[in-house]
Amino acid sequence: MNFILIAVIVLGSIGLIAAIVLFVCSKKFAVFEDPRIAQVNELLPGANCGGCGFAGCGGMADALVKGADKGSIEGLNCPVGGADVMGKVADLLGMAIANGEPKVAVVRCNGSCALRPKIAEYAGLRTCAAMNSCGAGETACGFGCLGCGDCVAACQFDAIHMNPETGLPEVDEEKCTACGACTKACPRGIIELRKKGPKGRRVFVSCVNKDKGAVAMKACKAACIGCGKCEKTCPFGAITVGNNVAYIDFNKCRLCRKCVDVCPKKAIHTVNFPAPKPVEPAKEEKEAQA
């Protein structure tokens, strides 16, 4: 009996001391984690794509809660979740919704195989980064798409693919989340996140060639030559020509498309506009010819 009693007392007292130590420690060294962080994290898509600028969704959730404590979550936006997710997050945190309009990746090069002839053959490692560091690539344009698909490899959402006919990447608007991974992967900064626009309609200059007009023209038939016609035509002051290339500010552009017609190189592209109505006289002429 005695042995049992000693064992119970010894073990019981060890247990009691340990419990006291644990209790004191848990009180003294307690780390407070805002429960909202976990809740916000729950709402985020969990893709950890880094499109928001943080390493992953956890970092974003942390930043959102901290922002809410300071009174504003402006500038924080989840490109993947879009307005839906950000709306839910804002409700949870009791903040006004602060996200911008949806964006989409836009490839600003139209130098397809037909318009931009090859002048050399590249035999090295087939990545854009490697080709870019070796020289201007296989064509005479030192700014255009290299066509090795670093952007395709970077996309986690299967939203960008090479078109084998043109040799240029194409963005799938439905799948693109505007996370910006492709813009960082492109060594030439050709891909830009632009406003998706009403009904997906947008106008942009599909060229980033900074060479002077004559040089650019020689390298590619579709190159912007920086002539400035679009700049003069634009009634809203949305177009600026700098470094021999035009750029349309998507915040000022009202989609009037006047610039598209005046561009002598057809370097300004429109997306998702309805096809222009066929001109009647031309039809008649054709019939007459037939």
Partner: protein
């Protein structure tokens, strides 16, 4: 006695020194000379002329754009046509000065006589004066890397120079410009070496030459005994076994004085050595004694299918096309044009690229030589590890770069890679090892720089 060489790795590619015994010819003046503003390591030079200005041979047209930089001098006389962009050896359009050539009028300050002058004929040449003149003449390393020479002669206070090593190795296949220079201007090179030693305040000099140039070894050994036999300087010609990349600074220091340069940021002077190319020694002689700035150089124009490959004394700014025409024009079929040799040279897409301070060769590879073979899977044979002169593991570094594992790549010392290409040359599976490693090295160096900037 065993012939010296560096201690680890190395390869011996086919030499193809087609132009070894072809005497140097003077290349004719171009119609228009092109001077890229970035011909050296460091900040690009800033133009000091404007469109329409008249310049003479030796007129400064662009001044140094920073501490690590060098001025650029006109190699022709004529009128500045424009300051625009031109394709340079990087393959991209970069700012450049174009000069339309009219006649051949030299600046009066340049001594154009062939008379050999010794350092002792010029008592005004203190070490400081020598370095000043080298800096003012825009002399940079002529072996290809184009590092401003005056900086090498003024080492940081933490290091002490003990000797000057002249790099006359020329281990790259095809190139013979340095060899011709040694055969034709040995006396001037030795005066240049004396100036370099005096400028760096050392008395010990070495000249490292590979044994495939026995005539040059013999000539320089005899001349060294004549010139330096009775002086306070001791200069030794060191014959070296043929092995690529012996012309790399670190390999040469290892081969000649058996000291190993630690990993970057250490440089050869940290182990007491200042390495200079023979071409640089010659340029130093001309700059300091003849007051002639750096505007012409020895260049080899070579290729197996070229009709008349040769060595030329070229005014900088001459388009490569002019030199190729002198050699019988571009061969038929597919060719690969390189600025430099087949191992370290840079492939170009335009023949209008001008000869710059560092263009030691214009190499044209044709047919099968110009093509790469289809890459196969790595079989872990570790040949690349065996030939790496820096003791790295190229197969691993290439994989790490491919998978963007920059942290591990940094740990595996990717920044020590000298991009000699031995691994890729030796790979039996023809894997693009160096292509991958170069990408990784650039990225890791960027990461290190941004980390340093944050501190």
């Amino acid at each position: 006695m065993k012939i010296k060489t560096f201690s680890i790795g190395g390869i011996h590619p086919e030499e193809n020194k087609l132009t070894h015994e072809v005497p140097t010819q003077v290349a004719p003046l171009p119609k228009q000379a092109i001077f890229p503003l970035s011909q050296h390591i460091g900040a690009p030079a800033t133009p000091v002329v404007q469109k329409g200005d008249k310049v003479k041979v030796g007129t400064m047209i662009a001044d140094a754009g920073g501490f690590v930089s060098a001025p650029i001098f006109s190699s022709v006389s004529g009128t500045v046509a424009k300051i625009d962009t031109a394709i340079d050896a990087t393959g991209y359009r970069k700012p450049a000065i174009m000069i339309d050539v009219e006649g051949d009028e030299w600046e009066e300050t340049i001594d154009r006589s062939d008379k050999l002058e010794q350092v002792k004929d010029h008592p005004e040449l203190t070490p400081e004066e020598i370095v000043k003149r080298i800096k003012a003449a825009g002399v940079v390393g002529m072996g290809g890397a184009c590092f401003p020479t005056f900086i090498k002669l003024t080492p940081p206070p933490t290091a002490k120079a003990e000797c000057v090593i002249i790099n006359a190795v020329e281990c790259e296949p095809y190139i013979t410009a340095d060899y011709r220079l040694m055969m034709e201007h040995a006396d001037e090179i030795l005066v240049g070496l004396e100036l370099l030693m005096k400028g760096a305040k050392v008395t010990k000099g070495y000249i490292g030459i590979e044994t495939n140039k026995p005539k040059a070894i013999e000539l320089l050994t005899t001349k060294c005994a004549e010139v330096f036999g009775q002086s306070e300087y001791s200069v030794e010609v060191v014959p070296l076994a043929q092995r690529y990349p012996q012309g790399g600074e670190k390999q040469l220091v290892d081969a000649v004085i058996n000291r190993q340069v630690p990993a970057p940021p250490a440089i050869p002077v940290n182990v007491g050595a200042i390495v200079q190319n023979v071409g640089t020694a010659f340029a130093v002689y001309q700059a300091v004694i003849k007051r002639k700035p750096l505007f012409e150089r020895y260049t080899t124009v070579t290729g197996k299918r070229l009709q008349n490959p040769g060595n030329y004394l070229v005014r900088m700014g001459t388009p490569m096309q002019d030199l190729i025409d002198l050699c019988g024009g571009m061969p038929e079929g597919d060719n690969k044009l390189l600025a430099g040799g087949p191992m370290m040279g840079k492939a170009l897409t335009s023949t209008e690229v001008p000869i710059c301070k560092g263009t030691n060769s214009v190499t044209i590879l044709s047919g099968d030589d110009a093509r790469r073979k289809e890459p196969q899977p790595c079989i872990r044979c570790a040949k690349c590890v065996g030939v790496c002169p820096m003791g790295l593991e190229p197969y691993l570094l290439a994989k790490l770069s491919e998978f963007k594992n920059w942290e591990r790549a940094e740990k595996e010392d990717i920044v020590s890679c000298i991009e000699c290409g031995s691994c890729q040359f030796t790979c039996p599976a023809h894997r693009p090892l160096l292509d991958n490693i170069r990408q990784g090295k650039q990225t890791v160096m960027g990461i290190i720089r941004s980390r340093a900037a944050k501190k």
